[in-house]
Assembly symmetry: C2
Homo-oligomer: 186 residues x 2
DNA sequence: CTTGAAAGCTTGCTTCA
DNA sequence: TGAAGCAAGCTTTCAAG
């Protein structure tokens, strides 16, 4: 707890009961970033192992991870499944055009389909982008049918994924020394 | 849950977009799907807890998870980070148009940027879709600049995300009784 | 932040249906 | 073949320094 001042950090950090509702902007230090990097890459590593990788004791890592979780930096820890193996080989991005403004309650209900993995309103020549993963073309059609029933939806364009060359979680970017950046050389 | 037995467990980023060798089609039964559902929702649940949730003993769950991992159904287990908290509040989807065919070695090098999270070739009025998460507009511009240096890249359209209404991992779809599906009712 | 220690977990081995 | 029972050796996690 390096940002404890003398006033607010008297004896022990019993911050457990009190969940700080801050946007969690307390700057992450190098240790935090290394820990996050390890956890993104391979959650389920023991605290001891992470500790020896970043140069901290197991309880220290434990405390920091706890803090990072309650601060919302770590949202959840989850298994990443293979789409094909779970019977959903077809991945597609669907652009949805709407009249008026896009965020209708009706459109939000599309989230109830487990095939819909992401839903973002965007700036550009469409209003909303959906990432959907289905069993096949027919299931995608089923989804699109549901879309067109929604009032205000005027058009959709589906981009069916042919090959996925990269798919990874949000990176912790241990090297955050902007704007220097490793350029892919010739 | 430790898979690194030695301290020399050095890991490269290449394991993130890993493609499993086998389709791993051994049919998943109800237990498998329930276990997967639990692990997607909350990896790091103890096997004992999962066991009592799905009606199996801890060692039985352990065996099945091991099998699911080596079959490639579970690709990896990772922490999901909050983009803003790690200093990358700007999310965008970038459509890349190319002459000839898209999968150039040169384009693949874009994967080396930690800001690039996904890269798919698609069918539709563009050739490739990138999902990128950057510190801000300037960092996005930097990335686009790198794109346009690549021979064969003729155009790009960036869809900057304004709001994210849903963002979740591949779902295990416990109810896979197709094509019956819960329709979002009026 | 570190050390030390108790409770609980993972996980290989063996036994049982 | 696959699940339950057991037991050793870790891990988590709470004290206290």
């Amino acid at each position: 707890m390096k940002f404890c001042t003398k006033e607010n950090c008297t004896v022990n950090e019993e911050t457990n009961g009190v969940r700080s509702k801050r946007p969690a902007n307390a700057t992450l230090d190098g240790f935090d970033r290394k820990i996050l990097g390890a956890l993104v890459e391979e959650a389920g590593l023991s605290y001891a192992r992470i500790g020896e990788r970043v140069g901290l004791s197991a309880p220290a890592v434990f405390e920091r991870v706890k803090r990072l979780r309650s601060a919302g930096v770590i949202g959840s820890v989850s298994a990443r499944l293979d789409g094909e193996s779970v019977g959903k080989p077809l991945l597609a991005f669907v652009h949805v055009d709407t009249t008026g403004w896009g965020k209708s309650e009706r459109l939000m209900r599309m989230r109830e389909f487990p095939e819909v993995e992401e839903m973002h309103s965007v700036a550009g020549d469409t209003g909303m982008i959906l990432k959907v993963r289905t069993q096949g073309p027919q299931a995608l059609e089923h989804l699109l049918l549901q879309l067109y029933v929604i009032p205000g939806v005027t058009a959709s364009r589906s981009y069916v994924v042919l090959s996925t060359y990269l798919d990874r979680p949000v990176q912790a970017d241990v090297t955050l020394d902007w704007p220097k950046h490793p350029l892919p050389e010739e």
